[in-house]
């Protein structure tokens, strides 16, 4: 809310010498936060005075322009009393006019310094100003010509132009709708600024009594429209200008002046907070009827939009049909125009929820709607309408018609019981009951009783409904800045949960492995899933769609972290960082299509069943881990060659995580997008698949701007963490000597090394301490379609030195089983 300070001070007195900053500081501390203090003349310094044009001579110039060589009477403002010679390029004035003159030494907005300078053959000492040059608007019609009675030459022109008028902009929270008015802000100044007094309520006025002579109004939905006041003026001069003060104030408040009749309704809304609607009375046919719209009804609103109405919308009708969306926006057919001479003034109180819904439904945000949906004082309809009539009469030459229509009565204010010590208990400050009562009365409440107070909130505070709401009023007036600082004493906590600790461990492990963590948005689109090469039936295509995504290309919640990390990696490569290794941990969203998550009651705790059903209705959201690496895993240099990343780096990254969690991961061949069909490992822990790793499919690399042979992995981190080994047993190991045996086995190229190793382990028996594949060879020596796997086996007994030949026997048994299970042949 932007509020001209002078307007506020029309309604409240502050002690002499109170600065604007003091007022806004106090308002900020009591809950109306200052956003800005603006004044149109803030950037103007130096002599800016009224001048009277004495002479002007038009002088055509070679460049085709005509300038005016003027002499201007600026009184004593120039120190000499002599007329000031000024060159002016505008032509919209004549000798005798009063103009705005800036003298040498003045500075205009934009740091434009004014001096005496030679131009067009004259010494021009100053400038005659336009609105634009003063930062007052974009008026191109030439210089400002002041009214003849604006003042005398040499007089400071700032007050005349309202240049020093300060406007304070305050942030208004939704519960303080009353402060969307000068009335409300003045009242806040009263309770916030020490010494403020003399509040003059603009909504407190003697209004003529209701009678039957006014425009007939029928309210069919009293719940939606509890109060409807109608007044009428005639003989209005549609060409009457809006007075300057009103234009300035409306403009400063951030609204656009339109015409006197419209400006008056806006002015009164800003002043009182009560939105007003004005109809061209001559276009209204018969009685006004307030009702809910019927399905399918239509209305073209003031903004020219034809709207299909909803049965929840409150409408105003006349004999011709619907003429307005009550409280939100008027209709075109009865709009006030440049020929309107009779105005029907509507000041009605509308149901806030209905206003909110209609505004949302039709996507209308308006100054009126903003107030109506937050709650307006229902008791000031008559006063507001009367004020409109007064201003139309005063400035538009209109005549107030007899007749005051008032339908309905403002709803009664609730009485709320508030414990006298509640503010003290809530705040932790020693606030007495007396002080509480004093504060509550200051904000307009009626308070009776003691111990338990019976509090009636003022009608402009529909937000005050609960006892605790009143404690806030007390505490903010006592001062939030006085709340003491006291640390509570929590019971001993249990620290981080194991899962939380392990997640940190995973992050540290990967960072230690050289991966950089990224955070991506979890939004995904079909094109991302296409880029991954996911087949049509891939479960990862079953995404949770957003109703209102920011972009249609990323309109769903992702089921995989890969698009995010691959995009990030591609971006790094694009930035010239060819060697990149990234990881991300985040939840993915896997729809369960389990139906609605119920809207439960709020007046009690939900049952365990209700809560379980709520959780069951949400999608599964497991925490995933994704890694990607491209370019070189280790760079080349004086120490040797670079090592490009390979599929094994992706598996190893996952293995570093499973190691950190105390888990063994096994890899088996799989064909899963987005991986290379021959270089994708399905990773399992204890036989349960936890994810995949390997080299990316070349097409996928290309789609994400990654070099060929980039690698990636994605695993279900929740699953890994849930299986993490908690209490590790201390190992027992033998101190007897080791016996080493090496074997080289030739198998078909398609036989997985893991199978060969498993057979060797099983065949070697208990004496086998470890087994390590130290070489893989393919080539002429083993023949087409074959490979040689060389293993180093270590044997040791826990309790004795192995006997001569014992290790060799175990080795032979291992080879024999490998031969049987995998067709392995020992290489000579």
């Amino acid at each position: 809310m932007k509020a001209p300070l002078s307007w506020i001070l029309d309604h409240i007195d502050v002690p002499a010498g109170t600065t604007t900053e003091h007022i806004t500081d106090r308002l900020t501390l009591t809950g109306l936060k200052l956003e800005a203090i603006e004044s149109p003349g803030r950037d103007i310094t130096g002599p800016l005075v009224i001048g009277r044009v004495l002479t002007m001579e038009a002088e055509p110039q070679k460049n085709g322009k005509t300038i005016n060589w003027c002499t201007v009477d600026v009184g004593d403002a120039n120190g000499t009393g002599e007329p000031q010679g000024i060159v002016c390029g505008a032509h919209n004035f004549k000798p005798g006019d009063l103009v705005v003159t800036v003298l040498p030494g003045g500075v205009l907005p934009g740091g434009f310094e004014i001096g005496a300078r030679k131009t067009y053959g004259h010494l021009s000492a100053g400038m005659i100003c336009s609105s634009r040059e003063l930062g007052l608007g974009d008026d191109h019609d030439g210089i400002i010509v002041l009214p003849a009675d604006a003042g005398t030459p040499g007089q400071d022109v700032r007050p005349v132009l309202g240049l020093d008028e300060e406007t304070i902009e305050l942030e208004i929270n939704p519960d303080r709708a009353y402060a969307l008015s000068i009335r409300g802000i003045a009242r806040e100044v009263l309770v916030s600024v020490e010494g403020a007094s003399g509040f003059r309520d603009p909504a407190l006025r003697d209004t003529p009594p209701a009678d039957d002579l006014g425009h007939p109004v029928v309210v069919e939905d009293a719940e939606g429209c509890p109060v409807f006041v109608a007044r009428r003026v005639s003989g209005f001069d549609p060409s009457a200008p809006t007075p300057d003060f009103m234009v300035r104030r409306i403009t400063a408040a951030g609204m656009r002046p339109i015409s006197l009749a419209v400006d008056v309704t806006n002015y009164v809304m800003l002043e009182t907070g009560r939105p007003i609607h004005g109809y061209d009375a001559d276009k209204v046919r018969g009685a006004l009827v307030v009702r809910r719209a019927r399905d399918g009804e239509r209305l073209t609103t003031l903004d020219g939009t034809e709207r299909r109405l909803d049965p929840g919308d409150l409408v105003v009708c006349d004999d011709s049909g619907i003429i307005g969306l009550g409280g939100v926006m008027g209709g075109e057919t009865t709009e006030i125009s440049g020929s309107t001479t009779s105005v029907l003034v509507e000041a009605a109180h509308w149901d806030a929820v209905s206003m909110y819904r209609t505004g949302r439904r039709h996507k209308i945000t308006s100054e009126a709607g903003k107030r109506n949906e937050r709650g307006v004082d229902p008791t000031i309809c008559e006063a507001a309408a009367d004020r409109v009539v007064e201003l139309l009469v005063e400035h538009g030459g209109a005549t107030a018609e007899p007749g005051v229509t008032v339908v309905g009565t403002p709803p009664a204010q609730p009485v709320v019981e508030v414990a006298g010590d509640l503010a003290a208990r809530v705040s932790g400050m020693p606030i007495t009951e007396e002080r509480s009562v004093e504060c509550l009365r200051a904000v307009g409440c009626e308070v009776t009783g003691s111990g338990t107070l019976s509090v009636t909130p003022p009608p402009w505070r529909p937000d005050l409904t609960d006892a605790q709401d009143f404690s806030e009023e007390v505490i903010r007036l006592v001062g939030y800045d006085r709340v003491p600082s006291v640390l509570p004493t929590p019971p001993s906590g249990r620290g981080l949960t194991r899962a939380q600790q392990l997640r940190r461990r995973v992050g540290r492990t990967l960072a230690g492995e050289g991966f950089v963590e990224v955070v991506s948005f979890p939004f995904v689109g079909a094109s991302d899933l296409d880029a991954l090469g996911l087949p049509a039936d891939d479960p990862r295509r079953d995404v949770l769609e957003l109703t209102n995504p920011l972009s249609a290309e990323a309109g769903s919640m992702t089921t995989t972290l890969l698009p995010g990390v691959l995009r990030a990696a591609g971006k790094n490569v694009g930035h010239g960082n060819a060697d990149v290794a990234l990881f991300e941990t985040g939840t993915v969203t896997l729809p369960r299509h389990a139906g609605p998550a119920a809207i439960l009651p709020v007046d009690r705790r939900p049952t365990a069943e209700e809560l379980a059903a709520l959780d069951a209705a949400l999608p599964a959201q497991p925490l995933h881990l994704a890694v990607v690496a491209a370019g070189d895993a280790s760079s080349g240099g004086w120490w040797g060659e670079a090592r490009p990343v390979s599929w094994a780096d992706a598996v190893e990254a996952v293995r570093s995580v499973t190691d950190a969690l105390g888990l063994d991961v096994t890899a088996a061949a799989a064909e899963v997008a987005p991986w290379h069909p021959g270089r994708c490992a399905e990773l399992s822990v204890d036989g349960e698949v936890v994810g995949h790793a390997g080299e990316l499919h070349p097409t996928v690399c290309q789609a994400f701007g990654l070099p060929k042979r980039s690698v990636a992995a994605e695993v279900d981190l929740d699953l890994l963490i849930s299986r993490a080994v908690h209490l590790r047993q201390a190992p027992a190991f033998s101190s007897y000597p080791v016996a080493k045996e090496d074997v080289a086995l030739v198998v078909d190229a398609a036989v997985p090394a893991a199978d060969v190793e498993a057979a060797l382990r099983e065949g070697a028996g208990e004496l086998l301490e470890s087994i390590r594949l130290f070489d893989v060879y393919t080539g002429d020596q083993v023949g087409e379609g074959k490979k040689s796997l060389a293993y180093a086996l270590r044997f040791r007994a826990p309790d004795r030195t192995l006997k001569e030949g014992e290790a060799a026997t175990a080795r032979d048994a291992a080879v024999a089983l490998a031969a049987q299970q995998t067709g392995a042949v020992q290489r000579a």
Binding site: V426, S485, S520, T547, V565, R567, A597, P619
Partner: protein
């Protein structure tokens, strides 16, 4: 070679004469001293102490001496050989030391060569910031609570006193999911975690909930559709705004430096009543000569978050008896806190995944 002298004849054996032995010894010692390297010394050892060295040959002649002369000659030769062995060992040690020194000198490398053979990893600064904040509260005895980001509408709004027609719902531009009748949203705040906590635990409750939240804000330098929040919730007997103030003052001083405090301004959140905006004292200018301060833009204070006393309506919806318990709650942007703590003016690098950004923070902040 002379045969054994068994007759005790006083035979003269030239090589065993004292001056001869002495000469052999001198020659050997001189050769040892002259040996310039280990190879030369090896030759000297062969020449002067080997099986065919003069002294070894002389030693064999001892048997040719009469018995009474053998002892003396034996001692003479033995002493000479002892001296030579000693000299050899000493020289060997010297030469070995010299050799080692030379070898080490030859093996000198340029230790200023780059050793950046492995990639350096790092964690995301927001992860680190979240953990740092969680740790501050864990140190006070709090626990870290969690909940889903795709959340039930009821938990994100209704249970928090944001009914279906609450104007405050428009303050939070919510991502809704399909189908609309499922009433599922992307959480707009971490507050549903607070509701979940109250629904599943009995007071006293002291928790913080860091996490991702979503709003339909277009992505620019200061807005992001996804950002991170940390909320705190305390529900216990006799909890007041003073406890809230104490907790946030402590939090501020831990995160931004000793002596940094907070300021409350009245505000509005449906979840709390009374509600406050919390400003933190600018940790750069500390409110002194703030006019030129870039961090707080001349305010002396930085808007940090919202807080308040838990609205009794929320306690009721979550099954906590407001007659017995009261509580406070607060919420801050982690991203925002990070931004002004570390002087980041445009938030987008947080979500772009450029390694140059995260790497600057390493694994701790």
């Amino acid at each position: 070679m002379s045969g054994p002298n068994t007759d005790y004849d006083p035979v003269e054996v030239t090589p065993l004469k004292a001056d001869q032995v002495e000469a052999m010894r001198e020659a050997a010692l001189a050769a040892i001293a002259d040996a310039a390297d280990l190879d030369a010394l090896k030759q000297v050892r062969l020449d002067h102490n080997g099986d065919r060295s003069p002294l070894a040959l002389a030693n064999r002649e001892i048997g040719a001496l009469p018995p009474q002369a053998r002892k003396e000659a034996g001692q003479r030769v033995g002493q000479a050989r002892g001296a030579i062995n000693q000299a050899l060992a000493a020289r060997q040690a010297v030469l070995e030391a010299e050799h080692e020194q030379r070898m080490l000198a030859e093996e000198t490398v340029d230790v200023s060569l780059p050793t950046t053979r492995r990639r350096r990893g790092s964690r995301h600064p927001l992860t680190l910031q979240s953990e740092l904040i969680a740790d501050l509260f864990v140190a006070m005895g709090y626990e870290v609570a969690e909940g889903p980001v795709v959340e039930a509408e009821w938990l994100n709004f209704d249970a928090l006193n944001l009914g279906p027609d609450h104007p405050a719902r428009t303050m939070q531009d919510t991502f809704w999911t399909e189908p609309a009748e499922d009433h599922v949203v992307l959480r707009t705040q971490t507050s549903p975690v607070q509701a979940r906590t109250m629904l599943t635990r009995k007071p006293p409750i002291y928790v913080v909930c860091p996490g991702r939240v979503f709003r339909t804000d277009e992505y620019d330098a200061t807005h992001s559709p996804m950002f991170h929040q940390v909320e705190g919730l305390v529900v216990d007997e006799g909890i007041t705004m003073a406890h809230l103030k104490g907790t946030l003052d402590h939090f501020a001083s831990q995160l931004f430096g000793d002596g940094i405090t907070t300021r409350f301004r009245p505000s509005y959140f449906p979840f709390t009543e009374p509600s406050a905006e919390v400003d933190v004292r600018c940790f750069v200018c500390r409110g002194v000569d703030s006019a030129s301060c870039r961090t707080c833009r001349g305010e002396g204070w930085i808007e940090w978050g919202g807080c308040g006393v838990v609205n009794p309506r929320v306690l009721i919806a979550c099954g906590v008896d407001p007659e017995v318990y009261s509580g406070f709650a607060f919420g801050m942007g982690i991203d925002r806190s990070f931004m002004f703590r570390h002087g980041l003016e445009d938030l987008r690098p947080l979500f772009e995944g450029d390694v140059r950004f995260s790497s600057a923070f390493g694994t701790e902040i």
